[in-house]
Symmetry: C2
DNA sequence: CATTTAATGTGATTAGATTCACTTATACCG
DNA sequence: CGGTATAAGTGAATCTAATCACATTAAATG
């Protein structure tokens, strides 16, 4: 899967910045591999595929590597996004300071109740929902963070898509996806389902702890068949 | 990768509940496949591996399927978690109502400033950080949500691990992982890096839009080589 | 300046997961 | 009550991604 590669690139990128901040000048495939948790060969393959070349002994030059990744990943352009729905999650994201550090600028928030996030520590303007299309066009926004209540999830999703948004980070518990006919158009959806992530952890714990796994085959056993020790 | 399967199981599970709510009684591998976005054969393989059997024509009985997944995934037991760090993200999660719906109970919050989330709409008790170990033992907590500031991330992570926590959902921008020697002990870490997710979307958009991909081979081209159209 | 050593770059290999394609069982229909 | 259609179940084939292993290059050393 080639999505994994993009994810790895983002991770390399972050580590490179940290290494640079520490004063390092070159990095080896092994270093990056360790930090990201993959084999060094994967790192080299990734760079090879991007036509990013290192030096046959001295590894990769961090500064140049960062510049190359800047271009490949579009980090040289400013990256603007909006937050739609400024309730619990959306509001927290409005006040989250980590985005600017990463070169992402939250241009605006939207909420049915635009006074929700006024006054105190909130430097980002919050507009009512009917300003959505206007601001998207004015500011040329491509990416939206969706944090509205579950019941208006798909409705707002469609509005965003119609308004020209090309990428959505969805915090709604509804798993958004493109309809089959639109499957080839360039539209990116990432679903972050926090409850699902938590469940996932419980499930993994349950499965690894409760001996539902056949120690020989690694096969997951049905509860009834699981502990037939007699 | 067998982690993908657990993720699929969680998705089947949620859809099954929705179908049940709609009054359906049976479901086919094709239905679940469509909903989750995988091939029907995958669905059948998954269930087959779990020794969950359907009927050779009538598909799978939803009620029984849910019960089976309940057991496999540990949903029959109550699932408690704590939130460590009740600032922006942590605080939002404290007030998030979606957990209880999914059978997850947030037993407590912890913060250096325990009055952070007092008074208003916050029914979950918030303790100071030095109560952490005590409450974990008292309440027999296995899973923690980590939402502390970046600089105390690894420190708190180690405290949680030492206190007997077995699974962590990490919202800290530091990617947590087990040290290599502990790699086989049952400890689950999920990293949710919101800024990284957003970056990821920008990158994917950039790569798909900016013709950095060779239309013939699908290979990603280095910016300089990308548009050699002369 | 030859030799050793260390790291990249990449074709070949392996492993794993997905899909195919066929077999089997069973509900439904005439 | 036999025939047909439908969907599960599953071994085999395919596809994809990770790993290996080695050739290649360049620095370092004496």
């Amino acid at each position: 899967m080639h999505k994994d590669m993009i994810l790895r690139l983002t991770k390399y990128y972050r580590i490179l910045h940290k290494l640079k901040a520490l004063g390092l000048e070159r990095v080896f495939a092994n270093n990056l591999g360790d930090a990201v948790g993959v084999n060094a060969a994967v790192v080299r393959k990734d760079f090879s595929l991007l036509n990013i070349i290192g030096q046959k002994r001295g590894g990769y030059e961090i500064e140049k590597l960062i510049q190359d990744l800047d271009k490949v990943l579009g980090k040289d352009k400013p990256q603007k996004a909006i937050i739609v729905g400024c309730g619990r999650i959306g509001g927290a994201l409005m006040r989250y300071s980590g985005f600017e550090v990463d070169g992402i600028h939250i241009a605006a928030g939207f909420d049915v109740n635009p006074s929700i996030c006024k006054g105190n520590e909130c430097p980002i303007p919050v507009y009512p929902m009917d300003k959505l299309e206007e601001i998207i066009h004015e500011e040329d926004i491509r990416v939206g963070i969706l944090a509205v209540p579950e019941h208006s999830s798909t409705e707002v999703f469609n509005r965003l898509k119609a308004a020209g948004i090309k990428g959505i980070l969805n915090f709604t518990p509804i798993e958004l996806k493109l309809s089959k006919q639109n499957h080839d158009e360039p539209f990116i959806i990432h679903n972050v389902n926090i409850a699902l992530e938590l469940e996932h952890i419980f499930y993994e714990l349950n499965i690894t702890e409760n001996h539902n796994i056949d120690p020989d085959t690694g096969e997951i056993l049905h509860p009834e068949n699981a502990k037939k020790t007699h």
